[in-house]
Symmetry: C2
Subunit: 285 residues, 2 copies
């Protein structure tokens, strides 16, 4: 049936799904979201995405029970769309009320879902490696909460895209690299695979966790310890992980060439390992 939306209990064409202008998601960014990948029509780790949303709901004080309906919504959007490679986007807002900062209790959350097909990234990007650009990390302090307060992300992502890059390398004031605007980041530095530890400074990525599992499966040690922009001088590999790109090697950050300027063995191994996991869990990759 193709692209469609879910809104507060009903399925409909995406263009028919409309929300009131006084929805707090629109007026305050008062909402959480998740993007779930379908492989051959099967959602990959929808449970992990929804658990993360539940954790976010506890932080921001959204009633958790609005998430109870979402496993079925994800399944239904996948089934009704008939898509193989696709994304299910879900968003839960605090609900609708006359504009006031402090939220009243008892609001009825707005629950939104959409499904759209996905064109995989061109294979040559994996063969040649992507370019990234450093951007200051000026996001709010709770990046572990997957909220729609994404303006800093989209501004950085747009600057990078205009230059032909895949994503930003977000750098805090002290030089610490956190992640990308839509990705987590891993680097091989002095022969050790490193990635920023989870906590309030980064999103605890579903793909990130699966890649750490893949590393374990493949006998690659991972150190969850942050690194700085100046450490990239000693990096032999760098790669983004997310639901879209899976494991995407980065061969250049601004003018700096990473390692030999070509995708390295660790990222190749972990992309394979990640796809093994996807194949095992969804029957497709």
């Amino acid at each position: 049936m193709g692209e469609l939306a879910y809104l507060n209990g009903n399925y409909m064409p995406i263009e028919c799904a409309k929300i009131p202008v006084e929805d707090r998601g629109l007026q305050f960014g008062d909402s959480l979201y998740e993007v779930i990948r379908l492989y051959g029509g099967a959602p990959f780790r929808a449970g992990g995405h929804l658990e993360r949303m539940r954790a976010g709901a506890r932080v921001v004080g959204l009633p958790e029970d609005c998430i109870d309906v979402l496993p079925e919504v994800v399944e239904e959007l996948a089934r009704r769309s008939g898509f193989g490679d696709a994304f299910v986007y879900i968003q839960v807002t605090r609900g609708v009320c006359p504009r006031i900062h402090a939220f009243p209790s008892g609001l009825q959350p707005t629950v939104i879902g959409t499904v759209r097909p996905f064109d995989r990234l061109p294979e040559e990007l994996y063969v040649e490696g992507a370019t990234a650009y450093a951007e200051p990390d000026i996001r709010w302090g709770r990046r572990d909460v997957k909220a729609t307060t994404l303006l800093p992300n989209i501004l950085a992502a747009t600057r990078v895209a205009r230059k032909g890059g895949y994503d930003a390398v977000l750098v805090e004031e002290d030089g610490t690299i956190t992640e990308g605007t839509v990705s987590n980041l891993f680097a091989v530095i002095d022969g050790i695979l490193r990635t920023h530890p989870v906590g309030e400074r980064i999103l605890s990525g579903i793909t990130r966790a699966a890649v750490i599992e893949a590393a374990s499966n493949k006998g690659v040690e991972v150190l969850e310890e942050s690194f700085r922009i100046q450490d990239l001088d000693r990096a032999t590999e760098l790669f983004f992980t997310n639901t879209y790109c899976e494991v995407l090697p980065v061969v250049r950050v601004d003018d700096h060439v990473v390692g030999e300027g070509a995708p390295g063995p660790v990222s190749r191994t972990l992309l394979e390992g990640f796809r093994d996991i996807v194949r095992r869990e969804t029957g497709s990759a």
Copy 2:
């Protein structure tokens, strides 16, 4: 006629104003807003609000010409509503497109306006003074841009409201007080009236600027220099300024009593001075 909305060229009841779920304002917080006070039906400094929105549009790359219609929208919402004391809320989003972080060029912005009546704060709050609570300032780095990425604001505002406070005193990691979640903040410390300088760390408030003018009119010197939470020990007065409260004395921050625990002469003088300006410009106060 009462409460009503404007949406992309049309006026309608608020509940009829609906936007697509793929509006970037909803999915990314990719939008700017302003809240304009009506006094006796006349907008106060609508031009200043719209200039600030224009400045924000330049920062986030929104086409400025979508703001050109807004002076008329503000006037029309004021006129059609028939309200005396009220607020016009305006919001401009990047527009509607299938979800992608880097925004495509050429999108048609969504332009929203609403008007709702306003109940003034109880007079006793000005007589007795308000309570504030310190909260960590974990907002993004561009607070000068009045964007709808407000989740950190509303979480702090809600915690404060649940405790009976008026607003938060937002404190950065180094102890610097920036402002409130909906207000700018002034303090009299060692006999000098101080407020955080404009720049990327605070919103350049319309009321803040008018209060600085009022101070000049009344012969009160203002130092635009930040202060820290520990400086409040030496503060004899503290007050919030914004479009809702105008000039609201704060007599307690958490358990700390400010000065004598009662509104002081500077805040009283500046509230009068601010209302003089409003009266002069709108014919009402």
